[in-house]
């Protein structure tokens, strides 16, 4: 058992709409670039929102169908390869700890349903259910298939955990991994979170909830957290991987931590199925619990990586909540989602990686597309241009659709 409650991060990997890999993603984020573009994966006729921050795989060229499950595996696998190479763990012997995977629900997509139906002997679902066994389909669409595939690929130990807390998934996965190490159940954890839900039905569902931006004439400026003209979030894809280790395990093998997970805090909101309590009380508790778990006072936080979705409600509530916790002059706050959109299940993990890079390089990533201040939001949002700053501790917020709020404290030192 290690003496410290902090968990070392010894490897990171990223796949974002800004690029494959940490170097390209981070450079483009600091340069204020946008990864949002018109959707080319499927037809967007008759849709209210026709853009997203999707990640196209080479296999998709020529309009070929690659399922969300296979894209998930590709994004997650790529991020994990990068993180393992950095950590110097894994390889042929396998990874010496369990897999914790944050992911969206996987389903049999409409494309697959229609293809299956064409082969069925009877109409409708009765025909689908009785259609011949489709091992290739089952091996990607069963809820257990994605964690099983990744666990086998990276040789992780024990049973893989796969989980979802909607937009807070990435943080929840890190918390579960952190607890496994704190409780002495694992020395290290391969923690991956990925999102691959940009497909027709998922886009329509979020669109029907009126949660998405409809700025079709200017996709790259559609994600504008904290700006007065924000009109919804932009769906995105991506993956992040963190290799998490106990301090003792990292030290014993001579691994140099990139940074530390200092603690986490949660609180669930029973206000409404899709809306957080507008008074911000639940997110205030989640932030305070993260600070308390890490043993950090609010004034010791140098930067806040916001949830910052660009929806009218979230950004206002988050601003109010931050003021409640940090007083009249909170530290600088910016939203990575302005550049990369909202990669629901992956966003918390991607933002944790960007937070660690913020600490490493002393550079605050900007909130791009910020032009019209919202009188209800009085935060320093690091508008449009990255800024140099000494950063030792970061609070990263993730507030889930469905009321699951999770906050993470990250630091340069344990």
């Amino acid at each position: 058992m290690s003496q410290t409650r902090a968990i070392a991060v010894t490897g990171i990997g990223l796949v974002t709409p800004l690029g494959f890999g940490v170097v390209d993603s981070w450079a483009a984020l600091l340069a204020g670039k946008s990864g949002v573009r018109p959707i080319t994966r499927f037809a967007t006729d008759n849709l209210k929102t026709r853009f997203a921050a999707s990640i196209m795989l080479p296999e998709e060229s020529g309009g070929r169908f690659v399922s969300a499950a296979d894209r998930l595996h590709a994004y997650a696998g790529s991020a994990a390869e990068e993180a393992l190479a950095m950590a110097g763990l894994g390889g042929r012997a396998g990874f010496p700890g369990p897999l914790v995977l944050g992911m969206p629900p996987i389903e049999v997509e409409l494309t697959d349903r229609l293809a299956l139906l064409a082969r069925a002997d009877a109409p409708g679902y009765a025909g689908l259910a009785a259609a011949a066994v489709q091992p290739g389909l089952a091996d990607r669409t069963l809820m257990m298939a994605s964690p099983a595939r990744l666990a086998a690929r990276f040789g992780t130990s024990g049973a893989p955990i796969s989980l979802t807390t909607a937009c807070a998934t990435g943080v929840t996965a890190i918390q579960v991994a952190m607890e496994a190490i704190r409780f002495g159940e694992a020395d290290c954890v391969l923690c991956i979170s990925a999102e691959s839900s940009i497909q027709t039905e998922a886009l329509i569902r979020f669109s029907l909830l009126q949660a998405l931006s409809t700025r079709n004439d200017s996709p790259e400026t559609a994600s504008r957290p904290f700006d007065a003209t924000r009109d919804g979030f932009v769906m995105a894809e991506g993956a992040a991987c963190l290799v998490l280790e106990s301090a003792a395990h990292a030290k014993a093998r001579g691994a140099r931590p990139l940074g530390w997970v200092l603690g986490g805090g949660e609180y669930a909101d029973g206000f409404h199925r899709t809306r957080a309590n507008p008074d911000g009380s639940t997110i205030v508790t989640a932030m305070q619990r993260a600070l308390a778990d890490a043993g950090i006072a609010p004034e010791q936080v140098d930067y806040i990586n916001a949830h910052g979705t660009s929806t009218p409600e979230n950004d206002k509530m988050e601003s109010a909540g931050i003021h409640t916790v940090f007083g009249a002059t909170p530290p600088p706050v910016s939203s990575n989602k302005s550049s990369i959109g909202h990669s629901i299940s992956a966003s918390g993990a991607i933002e944790a990686v960007f937070s660690l890079l913020t600490i490493r390089d002393g550079m605050l990533p900007p909130t791009i597309n910020y032009g019209t201040p919202d009188p209800a939001i009085t935060l320093d949002v690091v508008p449009n241009v990255a800024r140099a700053a000494k950063v030792a501790r970061v609070l990263s917020n993730s507030f889930g659709f469905g009321g699951q709020n999770s906050c993470l404290m990250l630091g340069a030192e344990p």
């Binding site: 689908l128 066994v133 069963l142 257990m144 099983a148 469905g402």
Partner: protein
């Protein structure tokens, strides 16, 4: 040192009915015959749910926002909290849910299947966009998100200290219990509500498992007698357990149903030497010393390849073996929690002072738990 963990609340609903009595009666009856529906989803057999008084656990406006699997889960969660007299403490209770895929709008899907045949292929993508956007009800989409069962439990019952939803079929149920037990044992939680639900009357679910060859083809048979490759018969289940630190329960005067002494999980690749039985044998090594002679066995085996688990159980020396699939059907995510709930009920009823709960997942995943009378 870790803390002793009790099961102080149980909410259980199945084809047998609601609460402890019908389930204890079934456990005590060697000649028990299950409740089956062979017609509604023919050729598949399900263990159907009885009509349930959902409105006793949730307001009508919330009922309308949920499909059956969420209603079942919220209902069972409420029963568990009631049985532990813990509803007033809900804000301090942690939540761990094992969730499957939410329910699709099957009627809309089937309308699309029919109508699309009349649309020229080149026009189908644009037509589909319009048809789905015009046909889907937003509230139904919310029923499709796995984490919204947890969300609904928070909204209806106020369970709010933390909320995590695991996915991954049977293993999700077992790992939800394992993580919950670990958090309470290590003092990270004083009380955790953990469980799952399954609505078997769903063609979309039967389709998903049909493509994997997991549904039992042909007539219902007891789990142990299903010829290879076997298969499962889905059973309606809502099951939540309140796990509580023994000291916390004593301090508030909450009696235990049983002690949850151990939960272990693993995942074999199920190829070559990496078999489910070998994975289970490794898990068994971690609780072997605590198993007493004559311990009962409750198997949550799905019915897919039942011989693999039978072979493993034969090596443990434990017995006699009951299969929960024979009593209440297979509840996928809810199966393992339900087996642990049944083990706790038979401990409390004096039927078995110690039960080894075993669960081999239909596709992947192995789990063992030890439940003891306090």
């Amino acid at each position: 040192m870790t803390a002793e963990v009790w099961i102080t609340g149980i909410g259980l609903v199945s084809s047998l009915g609601e609460g402890a009595a019908p389930h204890v009666a079934a456990l005590a009856d060697p000649g028990f015959q299950p409740v089956l529906d062979r017609e509604s989803f023919a050729p598949f057999t399900i263990h159907p749910l009885p009509a349930l008084p959902f409105e006793t656990q949730m307001p009508r406006r919330d009922l309308r926002q949920m499909e059956t699997w969420q209603r079942l889960g919220v209902f069972a969660a409420g029963l568990a909290l009631d049985s532990a007299a813990a509803k007033p403490l809900a804000a301090e209770i942690d939540l761990m849910v094992a969730a499957g895929g939410g329910e699709r709008d099957v009627a809309l899907d089937e309308a699309i299947f029919t109508e699309i045949t009349a649309v020229p292929p080149a026009e189908r993508p644009a037509w589909l966009n319009q048809r789905i956007a015009g046909g889907l009800r937003p509230t139904l989409f919310l029923a499709q998100l796995p984490n919204l069962l947890a969300g609904s439990i928070t909204i209806v019952h106020g369970v709010a200290h933390s909320s995590r939803s695991l996915m991954g079929m049977e293993l999700a149920g077992a790992d939800a219990l394992r993580l919950a037990l670990s958090r309470v044992a290590h003092g990270a939680s004083q009380m955790t509500l953990v469980g799952a639900s399954l609505n078997p009357a769903r063609w979309d679910e039967l389709m998903t498992y049909g493509t994997a060859g997991l549904n039992l083809a042909g007539a219902w048979q007891p789990v142990a007698q299903r010829p290879a490759p076997g298969g499962f018969c889905l059973g309606g289940l809502g099951c939540f357990l309140l796990l509580e630190a023994a000291d916390h329960a004593r301090a508030r005067g909450a009696p235990p149903f049983a002690r949850l002494a151990h939960v272990g999980t693993g995942m074999a690749r199920r190829e070559a030497d990496d078999t489910a039985a070998a994975s289970a044998a490794t898990l068994f090594g971690k609780l072997r010393d605590r198993l007493r002679p004559g311990a009962a066995v409750l198997s949550a085996a799905s019915g897919v390849d039942p011989a693999a688990e039978a072979g493993f159980l034969a090596t443990t020396g434990a017995g006699p073996i009951r299969h929960t699939g024979d009593l209440i059907g297979h509840g996928v995510e809810a199966s393992f929690p339900a087996a642990v709930a049944l083990a706790a009920l038979q401990a409390q009823a004096g039927l078995a002072p110690q039960t080894l709960v075993s669960g081999f997942g239909a596709y992947r995943g192995e789990a063992l738990a030890l439940v003891e009378a306090v």
